[in-house]
């Protein structure tokens, strides 16, 4: 690893192993559950077993009297706490009141009803079992289509998925009554927004609340939210004047943390006989769930924005119908609206190609927005920043050996073998985003401090939780200042340490947060040069390799000497303050629009319906790459979640609103032996939107994956007249299809 302070060494663009890893591989990182405090109490939440019911009565007497129990709160006991917030304002949007505990009605399985607090987690759970709730069970609606009239079009389902971060949610609340100070440790992607919104819910002054996102064990959008439990744990700590810990069980994580997707889409696509796309029409039914969580109404809007994909058409029409169901709310899950849109357009383009007997690669190349058209305004109101869509597709076709594969497929078909080649060319909206287009601010912040010793501390408003910005941000700063990686420390995730920030989601941390860092570094470099010039008594100086050098004499002052001088402040340059610190809040002028092409080759076992992925080729263009090792990791993980949706994962509610895939036993997340080898490649079209030229890569794999897989399987089965299959493509589904068609 390159850690020495070699002045000429640069770091951006290199495969540098991560600086956050030592604590993670030695078991010494601190996640929420690892936070211990003297006098800690444990909260367990009693939840509704019914999807829809009236609560006639709740009897907590036995629970209150149980060993070790300190208190029990029901919905009626909670006073003066605001509703769980929905961050999206739209005309005529119906937002049902969402209290932190249910009072007289429950609307989904897992709806919180009461909280039991005890001095021991086992005793709290025991006591929760002693609460008696008298329910009048009511009819539930779990299927969004059942609430609506029938429409006949090409129907494409993007099924409900469970984000399933490896670390469940958890909260530790610590109230200091004498100081009116609430410290809230929570596993979140957005600590500052949680502070603003939870302080508001609790009626607490925002500056009296500190939110700490310690080590966060995965989010994928599920922790881009404000949850009832965050306010509830804080409320309980304030009431009992003790630290309180609530850790979500895996079962709760399945039933009570937001789900993703949940679309039923009806598409129409029109084209000339030569394959030129004329227009796309969509009716989108979004399964909302029981409530709007923070961003619920925004997610289908992101689908509509991304509807045209990479294709040059100005005729788009979309209608969104949001349907409340007795299920846990849907909200942002990796890709958030863009995987659904990409799945729709990429399936429709394949169907169109089949209809016109065109090659699926050829129809895409014919309809791509061409290189000369950027910046390209879409019919949905976006302006694509930069792009070269044909290049990654051609590269992927070459890598996979497309023409040879088509010949092989023709031979395989003669022997009644099912072999498929599936293409997906995707675009996505990243670096979210300009503030006018986002529900909270869309900017990001960075502070850079150079300490008197010359060591560099960065505080980022982004809140990485696996994405590696402790490393990539150090790379950026090391190159700008000419210092070593070991001279730099990156801090994040604590509202008492870091200036206000927005957080990590929507592939934004590097593109927006990294740009804020870049500009803060420019401010500092200007100040370093001023002090260096003063100390060297020359106006003609250069900052390079961690030194300010006089161009005439060759004399130099090191960053350490200059930093010391800025704090000692014996002499100051004109109009210059002491100290060496800069903060920037950077507002991006536009989103970024990464893109790419994924090609999947499948072989299907006609006897069992088992799909085998023979090749997975991904060519992603995320602009400039700061650390190829980290980018590869993001692509692999994204593809794994895309494959999960394409082949295995589905959150299934029965007609009574019971989640019947409520454990890892029933919900099939990808495991190591299920994953193919991913051949990850890149093209590079820098973004003109930010100074780093980066676009974002966190969601690319997920967005590009699912249509490539389904297109491949449909291609394999097309000789049987198969035109479309909804995900997940389980062996059972394929086997049944083969049984019907043969």
């Amino acid at each position: 690893m390159a850690t020495t302070t070699v002045k000429t060494e640069t770091f951006v663009g290199k495969r540098i192993r991560r600086r956050e890893d030592p604590r993670l591989i030695t078991g010494t990182a601190t996640y929420v559950e690892d936070v211990q405090m003297p006098g800690m109490h444990y909260a367990v939440i009693l939840r509704s077993p019914h999807a829809a019911a009236r609560i006639r009565s709740i009897d907590t007497k036995q629970a209150v009297a149980a060993p070790g129990v300190v208190c029990v709160f029901t919905g009626k006991d909670i006073k003066g706490v605001g509703a769980v917030p929905c961050g999206i304002a739209m005309p005529d949007l119906r937002v049902p009141p969402h209290t932190i505990l249910a009072t007289d009605r429950v609307y989904f399985v897992g709806h919180p009803i009461a909280v039991v607090v005890a001095r021991d987690r086992y005793l709290a759970r025991d006591a929760a079992d002693l609460i008696e709730v008298d329910y009048q069970v009511l009819p539930a609606v779990a299927d969004p289509e059942k609430a609506l009239a029938k429409v006949v079009k090409q129907r494409i389902v993007s099924q409900r998925l469970v984000p399933m971060a490896m670390e469940t949610r958890g909260v530790v609340a610590e109230w200091h009554g004498a100081d009116r100070q609430l410290n809230l440790y929570t596993s979140t992607q957005i600590p500052h927004l949680v502070r603003t919104l939870v302080a508001g819910m609790l009626g607490l002054e925002e500056n009296r609340m500190r939110v700490i996102a310690p080590e966060v064990g995965g989010g994928f959008g599920s922790k881009l939210n404000v949850y009832a439990e965050e306010a509830l744990t804080g409320y309980v700590s304030m009431k009992i004047q003790k630290p309180v810990k609530w850790i979500e069980s895996r079962r709760e994580n399945f039933t009570c943390t937001i789900h993703g997707r949940g679309h039923v889409d009806f598409y129409e696509i029109a084209a000339k006989r030569d394959g030129t796309i004329l227009g796309i029409k969509l009716k989108l039914i979004q399964d909302v769930g029981a409530y709007h969580q923070l961003l619920t109404p925004l997610i289908p809007q992101l689908s509509v924005l991304m509807m045209p994909g990479l294709y040059n058409t100005q005729n788009i029409r979309a209608d969104i119908v949001g349907v409340f169901t007795n299920c846990v709310p849907t909200d942002a899950y990796r890709g958030a609206g863009r995987p659904e849109a990409t799945h729709g357009i990429e399936r429709m383009v394949d169907m169109l190609a089949a209809e016109l007997q065109m090659d699926p690669a050829e129809i895409r190349l014919k309809n791509f927005v061409t290189k000369d058209k950027f910046p390209y305004p879409t019919a949905t109101g976006l302006v694509y920043d930069s792009g070269d869509y044909a290049t990654p597709l051609k590269k992927a076709l070459d890598l996979v050996g497309y023409h040879k594969l088509r010949q092989e497929q023709a031979d395989a078909r003669k022997q009644s073998k099912y072999m498929g080649i599936g293409i997906s060319t995707y675009g996505e909206i990243c670096a979210i985003g300009p503030s006018p287009a986002t529900p909270a601010g869309g900017w990001e912040s960075a502070t850079v401090k150079i300490e008197p010793s010359g060591k560099v501390t960065i505080m980022t408003g982004a809140c990485p939780h696996g994405q590696g910005e402790e490393t990539t941000f150090a790379q950026i700063a090391a190159d700008e200042l000419g210092v070593g990686l070991d001279d730099i420390l990156v801090l994040r995730g604590d509202t008492a340490v870091v200036q206000y920030g927005i957080g990590t989601f929507g592939s934004r941390a590097t593109a927006v947060g990294g740009s804020a860092l870049y500009y803060a570094l420019q401010d500092l470099k200007a100040k370093i040069k001023k002090f260096g010039a003063m100390l060297l008594e020359s106006e003609d100086v250069t900052l390079t390799g961690g030194k300010v050098i006089c161009n005439k004499t060759g004399n130099s002052k090191s960053l350490q000497e200059i930093a010391g001088a800025t704090y000692r402040a014996l002499k100051l340059p004109p109009n210059t303050e002491p100290g060496l610190m800069a903060t920037r809040f950077w507002e991006p002028p536009n989103f970024t629009f990464p893109f790419g092409a994924h090609i999947v080759v499948t072989d299907i076992d006609g006897e069992t319906g088992q799909i085998k992925i023979r090749r997975y080729v991904a060519v992603d263009d995320c602009g400039n790459i700061l650390n190829p090792l980290i980018v590869d990791g993001q692509v692999h993980g994204g593809v794994a979640q895309g494959l999960g949706q394409a082949l295995w994962e589905q959150a299934v509610y029965d007609d009574n609103g019971q989640l019947i895939t409520g454990e890892l036993m029933d919900y099939a997340v990808p495991r190591s032996h299920m994953m193919p080898w991913i051949e990850s490649h890149h093209t590079c079209t820098p973004s003109p939107v930010n100074p780093l030229g980066v676009k974002g890569v966190g969601e690319a794999g997920t967005i590009g994956c699912s249509p490539a897989v389904v297109n491949s399987v449909v291609d394999a089965l097309s000789p049987l007249g198969v035109r479309h299959i909804d995900m997940p493509l389980t062996p059972e589904k394929i086997w049944k299809l083969l049984a019907t068609k043969n």
């Binding site: 078991g27 010494t28 990791g633 993980g637 495991r671």
Partner: protein, 154 residues
Amino acid sequence: MDITLTINGKSYSQDVEPRLLLIHFVRDVAGLTGTHMGCETSLCGACTVELNGKAIKSCTMFAVQAKGADIVTVEGLASDGKLDPMQEAFWNEHGLQCGFCTPGMIMASKQILDRNPAPTEDEIRHGLEGNVCRCTGYQHIVNAVKAAAAGAGK
């Protein structure tokens, strides 16, 4: 019940409830929080520790069942500031992102090499079947186990 067990070479004696899970003994009694609870049902493997030389899932074993056992957790792998080769391999190959599954993943990976010093890619993938990672797509983890195996074979 009074039990004594050894974790990372240190002896711990405690009067515990018979229902106390081994993972809670490791985390709360011994204070070793590197072992993580991911699913409570032995399906995710985040809680994997080594018990008398075998990788086990500490979330579905009672502490009393481990009476007298010799346990190694992720905290017991590095010695004198020197990382275990498997830890080093996970670091070099970017075999982790959020890090939550990592301690269990490293313990399971070590077990694979204990049983078979030169596993094929397929054997590595099947050896890790019981451990879920939601971040990496497993490819860099597979690379890490391969690298550790190659390093040990040198």
